[in-house]
Amino acid sequence: MSRLAERLARFLEVVLGYLFLVITVAIIVLVILRYFFSTTIVGGQEFVVFCFIYTTAIGAAVLLAKGEHISIQVFLNVLSPRCRRWLRRMNHLLVALINGVLVALSVPWIQSVGQFPSPVLRIPQGVVLLSLPIGCGLVALYAFWMAIADPQPSVEAGEAAS
């Protein structure tokens, strides 16, 4: 199970890398087309945003698998290793809970609005709305597995934008 979880995380990370590559290239191409050729790709901007939404949804699962979500560990560090282990498990269960609830709540929401077309590309909005249950489902699975198996986190707290 541990190996499967690691492989899945690695696979998802590669997918993220490709999605970001697509986003980067698309943005550069759109800028070049607009400023040098006075044209654009219809729906290009919308496509880029859709890809970005998927990177956030999938990225959340990879971050959990790598123990890199931003959290405050300073208070935990004064506790005994035994307490820390139990708190870590409890936290993973809580993360599984909120993400599981989100998956459950997403279903009726997507059923009610998912068939409406997106503003420019005119694809059903469900295609992009699905990113939420997919991402949250993956996070819930990882969190539940981590609550049971309790693998040691590689990094205690992530740092992103500073």
Partner: protein
């Protein structure tokens, strides 16, 4: 509200990832008080991810990483040496100046501390500076990384506050430069007292041209990125995209330190760092929706005005709150959480959202170099092999510069508002 705020505080203290602590406390609120509105939860979380502006975040990170891999740091050190190397404590001056320019390229204080520190700390030690001093000045100078434009936290603030990225970029320029100048002055005083050396810099025409040549290409990037956003030529996301293309071209063709093989890990690392912020943004969207529903920002605003205190006292308290939060909470979540709560109060008190953004970012920059969670401290600790308290103690004289500038930004609106008014009115 007790369920919401109390739940959040307890979960954060217990080490729950901040994004999910926000989600869980919001869920508790809905279950207890608004069960009929539960379907709002996925909608709000999704709307927090659905943004074009925040795509600039991973692009800026990728741009900085590419320039750095290309060999930026050594070139900036060489370039800065030309201007300040011959002053007393020359390497300390170079450290501050290179950090100022690096900040304009990477937009990240942590990258600044890691890159400049790795090159200059060993060199400073070799030239007779104490290791504590080298670590202290490096860590304090790195605070400019997130203030000088283009700044990643400014993009996050612009998104949360729905303000102009261009104006915010410009609002950070003068405070960032002021911090650098005050830090250089403090370095001059300490270096004279400790008799730190001046550097021998050749001032022959070929040597000057060579050093200038090394600095020009990196310097052009922030000028283009910020300039194109400010004059409205591109959006922040487009400017960041073009910045990535420029960094890739310069890194591979001119600097030649960047290889194709370096790019995939950079792509993964940048998008994961961005996802880390975006997950918090997504859940905070739910949280701020509840705050608005409960009229919390209005209540905070009424409370502050009702205190009948002079504006200077309220602003001083605001600075203290920002610094206190910065001690414990990372920059991105702090911006995401504090902005919606304090923004209406600031507007009611006549403080411009742009100035509030500058106050917030300068204050949070100080948090990056204070124990127990200062990320720049951790990075510098790894380089110097000194504990974070020792480095923090050594950085205190230089952090005075940050505090002085924080007070200037707080009490002299022109420090943050003059440049945006001049260039964007």
């Amino acid at each position: 509200m007790i369920a919401l705020l109390g739940g959040l505080a307890v979960l954060v203290v217990l080490g729950t990832p901040i994004a999910y602590a926000l989600g869980l406390s919001a869920l508790l609120y809905f279950v207890l008080y608004q069960p009929g509105l539960l379907l709002v939860v996925p909608q709000r979380v999704f709307s927090g991810m659905d943004t074009e502006l925040m795509i600039a975040l991973p692009l800026f990170m990728l741009m900085g990483a590419m320039m750095n891999q290309g060999g930026l740091t050594a070139r900036l050190v060489d370039f800065s040496m030309l201007f300040v190397g011959r002053l007393r404590g020359g390497l300390g001056m170079v450290c501050v100046m290179a950090s100022m320019i690096f900040g304009g390229i990477s937009g990240s204080s942590v990258a600044d501390a890691a890159s400049i520190g790795a090159v200059l700390i060993p060199e400073m030690e070799r030239r007779g500076y104490s290791r504590e001093f080298a670590g202290g000045i490096t860590v304090a100078a790195s605070t400019m990384g997130m203030i000088i434009p283009p700044s990643i936290p400014m993009v996050i603030y612009a998104f949360v506050a729905s303000e102009s990225v261009g104006r915010l970029f410009l609002a950070g320029a003068i405070p960032g430069i002021l911090i650098g100048l005050v830090q250089m002055s403090i370095n001059a005083i300490i270096s004279r007292r400790r008799r730190y050396p001046v550097e021998a810099v050749q001032l022959t025409a070929p040597a000057i041209l060579s050093r200038l040549h090394k600095g020009v290409l990196p310097l052009l990037m922030p000028v283009f990125v910020v300039g194109s956003v400010v004059i409205g030529l591109t959006t922040a996301t487009e400017a960041a995209g073009v910045g990535v293309l420029y960094a890739f071209a310069v890194g591979t063709l001119v600097f030649r330190g960047l290889k194709f093989g370096h790019v995939p890990p950079m792509l993964r690392s940048s998008i994961l760092s961005s996802a880390n912020v975006m997950v918090i943004t997504a859940f905070s969207s739910l949280y701020t929706w509840i705050l608005a529903l409960e009229r919390v920002p209005d209540q905070v605003s009424a409370l502050l005005i009702g205190l009948d205190l002079p504006l200077w006292a309220i602003l001083l308290a605001l600075d203290a709150i920002i610094l206190l939060v910065g001690f414990f909470v990372d920059v991105a979540p702090a911006i995401i959480l504090l902005t919606p709560v304090f923004m209406p109060a600031m507007k009611a008190l006549g403080v411009s959202p742009i100035q509030f953004g500058a106050i917030l970012i300068v204050g949070m920059a100080i948090g990056l170099v204070t124990p127990p969670v200062g990320m720049c401290l951790n990075v510098t600790s790894t380089i110097t092999k000194l504990d974070i308290v020792t480095i923090f103690r050594a950085s205190i004289p230089f952090l005075i510069a940050d505090i002085i500038v924080l007070l200037l930004v707080t009490y002299v609106p022109a420090v943050s508002l003059w440049l945006p008014a001049l260039l964007m009115e």
